[in-house]
Symmetry: D2
Amino acid sequence: MEDQTQHGQASPEAQQRIQTSFDRQGLMSHLGARITHIGPGRVHIELPSRPEVTQQHGYFHAGATSAVADSAGGYAAFTLFPGDAEVLTVEYKINLLAPAAGDHIEAVGTVLKSGRTLTVCRLEVFGVQGDRRKPVANGQQTLIRVNRPEQ
Amino acid sequence: MEDQTQHGQASPEAQQRIQTSFDRQGLMSHLGARITHIGPGRVHIELPSRPEVTQQHGYFHAGATSAVADSAGGYAAFTLFPGDAEVLTVEYKINLLAPAAGDHIEAVGTVLKSGRTLTVCRLEVFGVQGDRRKPVANGQQTLIRVNRPEQ
Amino acid sequence: MEDQTQHGQASPEAQQRIQTSFDRQGLMSHLGARITHIGPGRVHIELPSRPEVTQQHGYFHAGATSAVADSAGGYAAFTLFPGDAEVLTVEYKINLLAPAAGDHIEAVGTVLKSGRTLTVCRLEVFGVQGDRRKPVANGQQTLIRVNRPEQ
Amino acid sequence: MEDQTQHGQASPEAQQRIQTSFDRQGLMSHLGARITHIGPGRVHIELPSRPEVTQQHGYFHAGATSAVADSAGGYAAFTLFPGDAEVLTVEYKINLLAPAAGDHIEAVGTVLKSGRTLTVCRLEVFGVQGDRRKPVANGQQTLIRVNRPEQ
């Protein structure tokens, strides 16, 4: 899955579908996160630094780092689904590699394997300060595709 | 570690130290989480339901569930440290067992192994609705003890 | 799932089915592992100490420890399936808590959540020396139920 | 860490040190595994297909796949250590992406982050059949550096 196509844009339909779903995630707007890239099998989410997302030493809280990483992976999986499917996180594992600092963090979710039922994603988070982009977390996530619940 | 002592209270000094650290976590107060139990090797954190912590279907967001689970495990490890040490999350893995619903979720962090450098915790999260308490997530976490940075 | 029923025996049919499958795992007999308990939602596997299962310092190799833990969890899930289903490991995470030493190690797989498609198990491994039983590894595993392939 | 240097060879001293340690792992020779590449921060291990490493359907057992992945990551970390240090696996998480089949499997351990105490590695396993190389497992591992025990 990790080829150049991931750096392109997803179809307008998929982009619309994902942005709509993201906008319904109360947590993402409460944290101040926003989607910055939607490619086929790859989604980027940015979270700006502010006191509301910190741990006790002023770095990004592992929970905030994980939340945007989890959402980036979920939507990366979602880009490869048909319009009537939903995605749920089965589980993920994340290593916090370094204190997460910077103007913002950027979470990148990338599909490693897209199966009929299960999808596996790589999760990467970077601390960004001006031109500097430093890895702060790395993880792996399993997702399940489910039929959209009746509206 | 999983004996009855964990259901008792930690020393007043440890309780104070943990509450002070928790109060400095901008994310926890921004989410609306609060510590409800501090025992030796075990900490409980509650997160009430509200739109600001949801995913797109109105359940608790996996990121919110993980954030309180991670903090519960971190503080559980912290209860067994001397006063001049700090704790950092090395990594954790969490399974989302069921949609997280209820009046609130309760995260329980329990120390499985407390070593000189590394601590391993079990993470459990329950969805609580009135008298009903249902497991919604289960995880495992590795933490490292570090010297407190100079103030 | 973690109630006393797990300490009972599984049905003779389930025990037979699991023993037959286990006997077809070339790796388990090559390592010298054997099933010692088959309860509903819980399976124990023992691996005796011998040079063929060690790492460079003479302890049980993490790979051997993981292999029996993975099999114990897989068969624990299998005890709760109908006779025509198969189980595959989706993923697992394991912490090596202490050097694995002893006459043998005992892996215990316990079902935490049994769903229609996915099952989540807890994995525990103990180093056993005479009367002494010490935790050496702790993990969590996700499994998927699949239809038995045509013979 | 993931730059071209990883595709080069480690120093003769490091290669010797790692081969010696590997040769003392009873499990690796019992399984029939061998090291095929030792680069700075990257190690490859091959495991040929044979009945002794299978699960009940004739594929490579997840435990065998994990064992070589764990060793590949451990030795990848080891390439970056001074000669008097040892490495222990703290934990790892692995997703089994597809049934592991082929003439042999190849495990690739790559250092993502090398710290003073902890190292984090990416684990990849491929099923190889002639010219075809297919991903069968993907994981992430945490290791700790310890002083070599007195001989």
